[in-house]
Symmetry: C2
Subunit: 215 residues, 2 copies
């Protein structure tokens, strides 16, 4: 029962890295603080050869650091439960990316606006144009870090379980239960003062028909 | 647009920590390796006052370390996209737990079997009894770490967006698009040699009816 880090169908190319990053929503960002590892979940968005993360979560621990900090940004998408004939070979199908590098704070206002727009696109494509853009004060209050994609690798597991050859004769069901993040019915803010249609659910969360989990 | 770490509806009690840990599937485990942070996704299972993780992923970096290593184990469950009237207040509804502590390798064979059973329960409740149990050799090849829950905290965001008071007059839809991990149709292993029924999808992934995302 392992999440295999040695990829059976590994993919280290940038195209694969980008595809996984662009399919995720929340990353887990690791820092070293006073010698201890800290891992926090936060929103992210890839733009070209870099990944932006919201620094607000990390800002307290980063406040004293100047010029960048070593970070590890990991994105994992769970694709299914892998049920094998032995407990040992149980696993999970997943796609993940690990980015190692030095995170530095974004100070250029235009780059910050671009990053915010990219975050918006991650949450709901096209929605940026509908909502109030950030004010200068809000931009100032927003802390954004950038991590280059120079050192990024993708790992994944797909397909049915791999059992020991002698176990294939065991009379036990084996296979994959696919899992995917799916959207429910939009819930309007109780304070919504206008009769407006809810936005279309992002296609990547719009599993259809029910029970099917194609990507 | 923030994943707020200062909880609006924070919960630091152990009951909340346990509930979130028991609702997740994959954790992100952080270590410090040669001074650099490393974050890897791996399966985990809570048993009482500890969390077990598969050490296989981490074993390479842990090989040289004796007697335990500082770790941060973070579990995040995404519950929805929070669409505000301004880009600045966009967010994500989520539940997360951060466990800080010293991870130590489990050496007692009985405790290892218990941990494997707990992993099995996380993947599919009750399935442990159906499949081939681990052999002594497999147990030996399985590396399991335990992290105590002494220093664990939960954070979460729920509910509608929180907009600036003057923005509530903006004619833009605001609210939450709920998200949840949902199971699709079980996919039998092509090498399945018996006509066996697929197991029941774990209730926590069995969203019903389609489009509803109750937990």
């Amino acid at each position: 029962m392992r999440v295999k880090r040695v990829p059976e169908r590994g993919a280290y190319d940038r195209g694969q890295v980008d595809a996984i990053l662009d399919a995720g929503l929340v990353c887990h960002l690791g820092f070293v603080h006073d010698g201890h590892p800290i891992v926090i979940p936060t929103l992210y968005a890839r733009v070209g050869d870099g990944v932006y993360v919201h620094g607000s979560s990390a800002s307290r621990m980063l406040r004293t650091l100047q010029g960048g900090v070593d970070a590890c940004l990991t994105v994992t998408i769970v694709d299914g439960l892998v049920l094998a004939r032995s407990i040992f070979h149980h696993s999970v199908n997943y796609r993940s990316v690990v980015v190692l590098g030095r995170a530095s704070e974004v100070t250029d206002p235009d780059e910050k606006v671009g990053a915010l727009e990219a975050f918006g696109e991650r949450i709901l494509p096209g929605w940026w144009a509908e909502v109030r853009p950030p004010t200068r004060l809000e931009l100032k209050a927003t802390s954004i870090l950038r991590l280059p994609l120079d050192e990024a690798s993708a790992k994944l597991r797909t397909g049915p379980p791999t059992d020991d050859e002698e176990d294939y004769d065991l009379p036990v069901w084996a296979g994959v239960i696919p899992l995917a993040l799916r959207a429910g019915e939009p819930q309007p803010d109780p304070r919504l003062a206008f009769d407006l249609p809810a936005p279309r659910v992002p296609p990547r969360y719009d599993g259809s028909p029910c029970g099917q989990t194609g990507q």
